[in-house]
């Protein structure tokens, strides 16, 4: 029983990280109908930006809420700039190109970031600074709840609440929803589509930046290829929840996190990475629109 609760706690905190990254995929997909493969590498760059800033400012060994907030801001800034640059220089020239070309470009951008990351940051793993003190806050049925699990949950719930507000209660959010429903018509009604798309990339990438800090807190080892696997899993989470759907991404993320934790705990850890793809394949074959997605009929 205690084991189970421990696994649930781990699964939820892992799942909320997946959810944050999945939101980035789902938002870009909703607005451009493309998989932004480079998203996972934006996340990697966020982690490295925080790592270097922490080293330069000597925040390495001063865990606390202040450090957490500083690093979050740094990482969000770095990721949004990068996301904006990717959108501007790689995706915008291809706005009207066939989907296959956009997909190949996205893979190209992703590989480019990974390998330039290896060039610039070095291929060896680095230790992420200690962001928050490792302490046990309270117990649930004698299972210790760690400070970073609470921090992960708190930060991601805050981020999601802000995102919800942004999408549903602001003018910009309305513009984003309009573009995702029908871009050309939105532009006829006076929405600057390119700006809205740019902003979507900024928001999605910021979420990836937040995710990178949270992962760094829980698994403090960062390397240039760290984005690939977590990115794929977050993508699976987005598809599982129904790609293009914001609540779906959150739900999918939590389900992914929990099921992965359970597989590792009760089956075998070597199948951990195959699980994500297994889920993906089953979902796509039996319910291609995901749990909360809507079916669309292809019209000629």
């Amino acid at each position: 029983m205690q084991d189970l609760i421990q696994h649930i706690i781990n699964g939820v905190s892992l799942g909320s990280i997946y959810a944050l990254i999945a939101l980035g995929y789902t938002m870009v997909y909703g607005i451009l109908q493309m998989i932004n493969f480079a998203h996972s590498d934006v996340y990697m760059v966020g982690a490295f930006a925080a790592y270097f800033v922490a080293r330069w400012f000597g925040l390495n060994n001063s865990p606390g809420v202040g450090t957490l907030i500083t690093l979050l801001i740094v990482s969000i800034a770095a990721c949004s700039l990068l996301g904006l640059a990717i959108e501007r220089f790689a995706y915008r020239p291809l706005r009207r190109a066939p989907k296959l070309n956009i997909l190949i470009t996205a893979i190209g951008v992703s590989l480019f970031l990974q390998f330039s990351g290896q060039l610039i940051f070095g291929a060896d793993p680095k230790v992420f600074p200690n962001v928050i003190e490792d302490a046990t806050l309270f117990y649930i049925m004698e299972v210790p709840v760690k400070s970073f699990d609470i921090a992960i949950l708190g930060v991601s719930v805050c981020a999601m609440a802000i995102l919800h507000y942004l999408i549903y209660y602001t003018k910009l959010g309305m513009a984003m929803r309009a573009v995702s429903v029908n871009g050309p018509v939105a532009s006829m009604l006076g929405v600057n589509v390119n700006r809205v798309i740019g902003f979507t990339f900024v928001v999605g990438s910021s979420l990836a930046g937040i995710g990178s800090i949270l992962v760094g807190m829980k698994y403090p080892k960062i390397e240039p290829l760290m984005g690939t696997m977590i990115g794929l899993k977050a993508f699976v989470a987005a598809v599982l929840g129904g790609i293009g759907s914001v609540p779906g991404a959150v739900l999918g993320g939590v389900i992914m996190g929990l099921s992965e934790e359970m597989v590792v705990a009760y089956l075998s850890s070597t199948y951990r990475d195959a699980l994500a793809f297994g889920i993906l394949i089953v979902i796509l074959i039996f319910r291609p629109a995901g749990l909360l997605g809507k079916y669309t009929i292809e019209k000629v």
Binding site: N101, I104, T105, I107, G108, L111, F115, T270, G278, L284
Partner: protein, 333 residues
Amino acid sequence: MKWFKNPILSLIAMLIVGLIFNFSVNAYIQITILFIMVNCILALSLNLVNGLTGQFSLGHAGFMAVGAYFAAYAGLNWSFGSPSLLAFQFFLYTLGGGILAAICGYLVGLPSLRLKGDYLAIVTLGFGEIIRVTLLNIDTLGGARGISGIPSFPEYDPVIFTSFFTSYIFASIWLIICFFFLWRIMQSQNGRAFLSVREDEIAAEALGVNTTKAKVRSFVISSFFAGVAGALYAHLTNYISPSSFTFLQSVNVVIMVVLGGMGSFSGAILAAAFVTIAPELLRSLQAVTGVDLRMVIFSLCLILIMIFRPKGLMGEKELTDVFPWLRLGRKKA
């Protein structure tokens, strides 16, 4: 050059070129040439799915792994014994690797080819990874250690039929089979169906093409040749492990297809040669700068080609369209 259209004559021409290589260049260049041929088979086979049928597969390395593991396991464990049958044995196991990969391709393709575009790419990626993780967990196949000591192609004679030349013969036979099989299938009814699926799936369906069948066929053929290429790869390197067949290997093949032009046979061959040789050339650069620039350059190429030449360098053109003098002997239509 009319006789290029005849497989036997092209094979003989290739073998003569190979014989020259056998005497004129050193072992390093020889092995590079063999890898070019393996990559040509890979690129040609993926070109069938990605370029000519318009489906985007990212799991080619998985099928390559199936072929490689079959050939390696069979070559090590089920020997025919008699050395005179050795050549036959190699051929048979390579074929077996291809067939097993084709069966996997069928099993993978049947459910996943209902999906389109991005989803298909991700699912094929997923299947590729699942094949890899499964191999990682099968202990009889070595798990993460892989299989080592895979027999090379036999050496019959230290002067002419050296290990290089026999490998070269095997590789050329398969390359010729692959090229002509794919080339001719594209001239057939099946090939037309593939093209129609690429151009407009709904229109093709309306005209009575069974699009699912066409896609699965193209996928199975492509997996078959990927398996063959994997088997050749296993015999050439003598060592395989699951880490030889990662996502990056699939991407490598995709780069060849995109670079060469999606849908162009000669483009795929040229790009395969380029992608194999470029890292070797960059190696001297790496000695100067101390870093591996290969993938950075390739990925940048990929982005720039997509932006500036969306159909790949050659587009759908063949070499004979670019240089008409290569077409001597063909009657003007």
